[in-house]
């Protein structure tokens, strides 16, 4: 076992292998970021830890599969699937928020958390009722099943595309939140709901909007993940913990925090599995522990203001 570990280590001095690992890390990171960003948004504004985010992610993947299958795998059907996932999840989120969640805003974190837990149970079973227990395969979108040739090495094109999408999402969200009035309103809503209403803002609408957008992002994340993984029950379970870890190490509700957190998780996972193969199970947790011991409130978070 030891000798084998050493061999893997020695591969790290091989530039092609290093390039692969580097790309692997970034693509995993961006993949996770796309999924986690919706969670960050919801957590930041609604202060709700949305356990159902993973279930929404799974649902998005299923919707994408159904769309692709319905269209017989025609060119472009995958991208329609992504849109469909966003729309369906957005609509679901709308119903959940308007019908139930909004009555719980005044209550404790724990109540809201268990609420989302209940949603996990329900959404999971609804998915099972619709799609059964089979696993499904979504082919890579047309023209993206191959690899891009960098001269010295080839790297699969689809993960590369995910990196680009991740970056676009990050920059887009950042611009929207910090440079627009709506962004400021959303941030204000995280801090004092009642006062925001007293300034004439339709806070319930803001909340609904944020929940819908965040959930649609989960759906998009699921649809975008679908070509790389088996679409099946249970795919929600691991992703939600990874998303939590990202959000926490980034600092609650911080966009760039979760961006960096996702990248960190990508690198730690990819290099960790090579250097400490026996620790793969807990690499993510160790990353989180280490980070929180170093910066207790995450990369970009800070302690709640205490009263003067």
């Amino acid at each position: 076992m030891l000798a084998i570990g050493v061999e893997a280590m020695s591969m790290l001095s091989n530039p092609t292998f290093l390039f692969y690992q580097f790309m692997n890390s970034i693509s995993l990171g961006m993949n996770l970021f796309i999924i986690a960003t919706g969670l960050t948004l919801i957590l930041g504004v609604l202060r709700v830890i949305n356990f159902a985010h993973g279930a929404f992610f799974m649902f998005g993947a299923y919707v994408c599969w159904s769309t692709v299958t319905f269209l017989g795998g025609a060119v472009g059907s995958f991208w329609l699937g992504v849109v469909a996932a966003a729309v369906v999840l957005g609509a679901m989120a709308f119903v959940i928020e308007r019908g139930l969640l909004r009555y719980l805003y005044g209550r404790e974190h724990l109540t809201q958390l268990l609420f989302t837990f209940a949603i996990v149970l329900i959404v999971g079973d609804v998915a099972k009722m619709i799609w059964g227990t089979d696993q499904y395969n979504v082919p890579y979108p047309h023209g993206l099943g191959g690899a891009v040739d960098f001269g010295f090495a080839k790297y699969p094109s689809y993960p590369l595309l995910l990196c680009v999408i991740g970056l676009v999402v990050a920059v887009g969200m950042w611009l929207a939140l910090s440079k627009t009035r709506w962004g400021r309103i959303i941030r204000a809503a995280t801090q004092d709901r009642e006062m925001l209403a007293a300034l004439g803002m339709n806070v319930p609408l803001v909340y609904t909007g944020v929940f819908v957008i965040g959930s649609a992002l989960a759906g998009i994340g699921g649809a975008l993940a679908a070509p790389r993984v088996a679409v099946s029950p249970g795919m929600d379970a691991t992703i939600i913990i990874e998303c939590f870890i990202i959000v926490i190490i980034g600092g609650l509700g911080s966009l760039w925090g979760s961006f960096l957190g996702a990248l960190a998780l990508g690198f730690v996972t990819m290099f960790g599995t090579v250097i400490f193969p026996d620790w793969e199970l807990v690499l993510a947790y160790i990353l989180m522990l280490g980070l929180l011991l170093w910066r207790p409130w995450g990369l970009f978070g800070h302690e709640e203001e205490e009263p003067h």
């Binding site: 893997a8 099972k128 059964g132 191959g146 080839k154 070509p227 379970a237 691991t238 090579v274």
Partner: protein
């Protein structure tokens, strides 16, 4: 009429991630019970199924097993999926002195270190599987092997099984790299690139179900399956994986399955297949039903032979018992309580005009004789 029903407790995961397997298994189980009852039952009694969700949680499965025994008063327990669940149910069976037939769990411990009189297994085990894979390594003339297994009991045991069997069947082959991704892993890129870097021409593996699907989908764009022969346990040749991956199923894969709907080694299988197809509403059926089906049939035969449902008598009857199954005859080893369940092995080939891969040729590999 007259005699009381015989209650069969059955435990498969029917909720959550494990439901992919538990659902089809239940179908096979129900088919067996229906057939038995349609032909007048056993000793004049009907079989009645009491099903519970084992989840993939041993403590929950143990609690459910206890409930089946103490509340429902079942005569036997069938099922299990994960190894830990199998062991947990087995422990309850031992204490409550009720027979447990493990239909899916493969962990070797069940019939070795944790063996007790009440536990039997109709599933294959990791040593059988490793032995078959070593034979294929020989067949494809593999020399430099990479071994990738999931980091949990089944993966470790299968890895050991392969390592044990290699010197016997393929002495020239050498494992140069062992990789152990975690159970439930979804991103295999780090492993794919490591194998590519290590320069193996052959990969042995036990990545099952979704793990294989994810691995294959992520490896394909690298051109991975052009350069590597991929020999794998974990029933990757089964219909559920082949049909779902369809055109994305990679080339150069050798794998196994308990059953193939398109391949009938016996006349009994044809009939079984027809009935199952009717129940499932499709010809192309999964592999899991036959496992559950065989478990019920084994118990039925043992009760008939014992002439009673008394556990001690049934155990006696079961030891050394041989029954006919859709897959051929099956014998219970009197000492280890393990049946000689074999598996089909072969390369997966593209079919002309179809995306769906089939095993071609199909070879039945019986368990190694001692």
């Amino acid at each position: 009429a007259g005699a009381a029903d015989i209650k069969i407790g059955v435990l498969y995961p029917i909720s959550g991630g494990g439901a992919i397997y538990g659902g089809p298994a239940m179908r096979g189980h129900d088919l067996a019970v229906e057939e038995i009852n349609a032909t007048g039952g056993v000793l004049g009694s009907k079989f009645v199924t009491v099903a519970r969700d084992s989840k993939i949680n041993p403590a929950a499965a143990a609690a459910a097993a206890k409930e089946l025994i103490t509340k429902e008063g079942v005569n036997v327990i069938l099922g299990g999926l994960a190894s830990s669940v199998g062991l947990a149910i087995s422990e309850v069976a031992r204490r409550e002195e009720v027979i447990y037939i493990a239909t899916i769990p493969k962990t070797i411990k069940l019939t070795t270190s944790k063996l007790h009189p009440y536990v039997f297994r109709t599933a294959s085990n990791t040593d059988f599987e490793g032995d078959a894979m070593a034979q294929i390594v020989k067949k494809v003339n593999g020399k430099k092997l990479c071994d990738i297994q999931l980091d949990y009991a089944y993966g470790h045991d299968l890895g050991d099984g392969i390592a044990k069997a290699l010197p016997k069947h393929a002495p020239g082959a050498n494992i140069v790299m062992k990789l152990r991704p975690k159970l439930g892993a979804t991103d295999f890129n780090a492993y794919i690139t490591q194998i590519m870097g290590a320069g193996c021409e052959t990969v042995v593996s036990g990545l099952w179900g979704n793990h294989f699907v994810n691995f294959a989908k992520q490896a394909a764009p690298f051109g991975f399956f052009k350069d590597h022969v991929y020999i794998t346990g974990g029933e990757i040749a089964s219909h559920e994986v082949a049909s779902k991956l369809a055109g994305d199923y990679p080339d150069n894969v050798w794998s196994n399955t308990y059953e193939l709907w398109y391949h009938s080694p016996t006349g009994a299988h044809k009939k079984f297949q027809a009935r199952l197809a009717k129940k499932a509403g499709t010809n192309a059926t999964a592999m899991w039903p036959v496992l559950a089906y065989n478990g019920v049939m084994l118990y039925k035969a043992a009760v008939e032979k014992a002439g009673s449902t008394d556990a001690a008598k049934v155990i006696k009857a079961m030891e050394g018992l041989t029954i006919d199954t859709p897959m051929g005859s099956l014998t219970v080893d009197a000492k280890s309580h393990q049946t000689n369940t074999g598996q089909f092995w072969g390369p997966m080939k593209k079919q002309s005009g179809e995306a769906y891969r089939r095993m071609e040729p199909v070879t039945f590999v019986p368990p190694p004789s001692k």
